[in-house]
């Protein structure tokens, strides 16, 4: 039997296990490492500033930043700053994201709207929205209007692009299926296109909302007496590094919260994903 001879001939040589070479390249969850990096970094800066080889001009002492944060909280100023900022963020981002999603869906659904608006969106996307702030002040007033407008405008464009991309990526066979069952146009949009585009829309929102937080500081450049952005700008102009860092930490925390919130929404709405 030829199969048997094949197995028999190369025998009697040395025997050893096959080398394993399939390791690595498979990321695993290591939750504590991220926290450890933070602690080591902050500890290092604290040591450096205490010992004096990091000058007060270079970096503030982390412990002083914490103390500044404590004072801010104790004096009630924290909420005096946080209140207006959160309002601006929520109102601006809601306006921008809802108009953005609507426009994105319309672009995704209608060829004429796509032909008309996609070049326009591409044209306004790279404009630094901060550059338009003085214009917004003329259009919407120096008070809350211009701040809402800036944040709304900044969140609008990335949301539009993410949304129409998401609508384009909805599985066409699902739409065909809807048509084959005689679903109305409106039903197809509501029951197939929108849920199908939701993952893309949400990941777009992740980016848009981070941009909204960035723009918060810019929005509070003009005419804001209170607000986290105003607080940071004032600290910057006063060279008060402790307050500057305290403000930046607040923005970071805000970013983490927004990201976690979207993560929770994703888990709730997108549990169907594999």
């Amino acid at each position: 039997m030829p199969d048997a001879t094949l197995a028999a001939t190369p025998a009697r040589d040395k025997v050893r296990a096959v080398d394993f070479r399939g390791g690595g390249f498979a990321p695993k969850t290591r939750r504590w490492v991220g926290i450890a990096v933070f602690i080591v970094l902050i500890g290092f800066v604290e040591w450096g500033t205490q010992a004096g080889w990091i000058s007060a001009l270079t970096l503030p002492k982390p412990s002083d930043v914490l103390a500044t944060f404590g004072e801010l909280y104790a004096s009630g100023l924290l909420f005096q700053h946080l209140g207006p900022s959160l309002t601006r963020l929520v109102v601006g981002a809601t306006i921008g994201a809802s108009i953005g999603v609507t426009t994105g869906v319309l672009i995704g659904l209608f060829s004429y709207i796509r032909a008309g608006l996609v070049p326009l969106v591409a044209a306004i996307f790279p404009i630094p929205k901060i550059a338009l702030l003085p214009l917004f002040v003329i259009w919407f007033g120096i008070d809350e209007g211009s701040k809402y407008a800036l944040i709304a405008f900044g969140t609008f464009t990335p949301t539009v692009v993410a949304t129409y991309g998401a609508v384009d990526n909805v599985d066409r066979t699902l739409i065909r299926m809807g048509q084959s069952f005689g679903l109305s146009w409106f039903s197809i949009v509501r029951k197939i296109v929108l849920p199908g585009a939701m993952p893309g829309i949400l990941s777009g929102l992740r980016i848009s909302l981070a941009i909204a937080i960035i723009l918060l500081v810019a929005a509070e450049m003009l005419g804001a007496e209170y607000g986290i952005g105003a607080y940071i700008l004032q600290a910057g102009s006063l060279y008060d590094l402790e307050r500057l860092f305290a403000g930046v930490v607040i923005l970071s925390i805000l970013g983490v919260i927004v990201s976690a919130a979207i993560g929770a929404i994703e888990r709730h709405l997108l549990g169907w994903r594999t």
Binding site: L57, P134, I142, G223, Q234, S237, L238
Partner: protein, 339 residues
């Protein structure tokens, strides 16, 4: 005993200072970077460079231009710029507190009788009755940032009138002008060469003078890094001496008109190389002449005004209460005026 008025005092001090300062041993062609804004108030540096006063003092000066006072202060702290002139602000005081910079002399001063900084009102607010600083109560006042000189001036005016105003931070002078013209803010204060053309357009009205509220206001100061002030004494003295020559030329020509209109013309030509360079000379000349304010002879420093400013910043909790005048100022270089 002869009594001197303030002008005479300043002139005497200046002369003495110039005499004293002109003597230091000539430094050996040291490379020095001087920060400047493209404002007429920085003319002393331009004159000292153009007329070779810096070179005579053994300094190889390179001018570095900035868009705003704030980054210039940072550049001094980082060592990119050696000397500069700017207004006292919260940021400057904080940098001094961190051991980065020192104020070593004075430049622009308010002086009764000479056109100084103006208090402006928007047309809308003016029509609604804001015709003098006494009506500023409840109005909005523009400023670049909290702790800027605008904030200081506005607060002082409001305090003197016994009224409360709200301050709107707008970061840039351009943004403040836009907001004032469109009536988004009610009032502001600014140097005359900006105030007068604005008032001429009719969108804005001049309703008062800062000099009436802060008669001897030391608007701008000469400052350097703390290291230069303590370790580079010779270079710093050379710089101040050359700078003071520029100041003398400027005051003599532009304010006292020592060489008549011809002298003014020549000076305008010189300054126009640096200021309003985007405008033709004839167009720029009135603005340059309008912007004339007295620079302190011998870079003398009005220590009383600086102290008042420091105390105000501390009272507003904009800077640390523990900061002393000595932290901010190195008074060993120039004569000081304590009045």
């Amino acid at each position: 005993m002869t009594t001197f008025n303030r002008r005479q005092t300043l002139a005497l001090i200046g002369a003495a200072a110039a005499a004293g300062l002109a003597t230091p041993a000539i430094a050996q062609n040291r490379k020095v970077t001087v920060g400047a804004l493209r404002f007429t108030s920085h003319s002393a540096s331009f004159i000292a460079l153009e007329r070779g006063y810096f070179a005579d003092a053994g300094l190889d000066v390179e001018l570095k231009f900035f868009q705003a006072a704030q980054p210039m202060a940072v550049a001094i702290a980082s060592g990119d710029v050696d000397y500069a002139v700017t207004a006292v602000s919260g940021g400057l005081i904080s940098l001094a507190d961190k051991g980065a910079i020192k104020v070593i002399g004075g430049a622009l001063s308010e002086e009764p009788g000479i056109d100084g900084q103006k208090i402006l009102a928007s047309d809308a607010a003016f029509q609604a009755g804001l015709t003098s600083p006494a009506q500023l109560g409840g109005k909005t006042f523009g400023m670049s940032t909290a702790g800027s000189s605008f904030h200081y001036m506005g607060s002082k005016v409001a305090a003197a009138e016994g009224v409360e105003m709200s301050f709107k931070p707008l970061q840039k002078v351009g943004a403040i002008i836009g907001a004032l013209k469109s009536g988004q803010i009610d009032a502001w204060s600014i140097v005359p060469h900006i105030a007068k053309p604005l008032a001429g357009s009719g969108d804005v009205h001049i309703i008062g003078d800062i000099a009436d509220y802060l008669p001897n206001y030391q608007v701008t100061t000469v400052f350097t890094s703390a290291a230069n002030a303590s370790d580079e004494r010779e270079t710093t003295e050379s710089f101040l001496a050359a700078f003071s020559q520029g100041v003398s030329d400027y005051n003599a020509t532009m304010i006292d008109r020592a060489s008549g209109d011809e002298g003014v013309d020549q000076m305008v030509d010189l300054i126009h190389k640096y200021v309003y360079t985007d405008r033709p000379r004839d167009n720029a000349a009135p603005s340059i002449i309008n912007g004339t304010m007295r620079l302190n002879e011998g870079a003398a420093l009005n220590i009383a005004s600086v102290r008042d400013q420091l105390e105000w910043f501390q009272s507003e909790a904009l800077v640390d209460e523990a900061i002393t005048l000595d932290t901010l100022v190195d008074a060993s270089y120039v004569n000081t005026i304590d009045a």
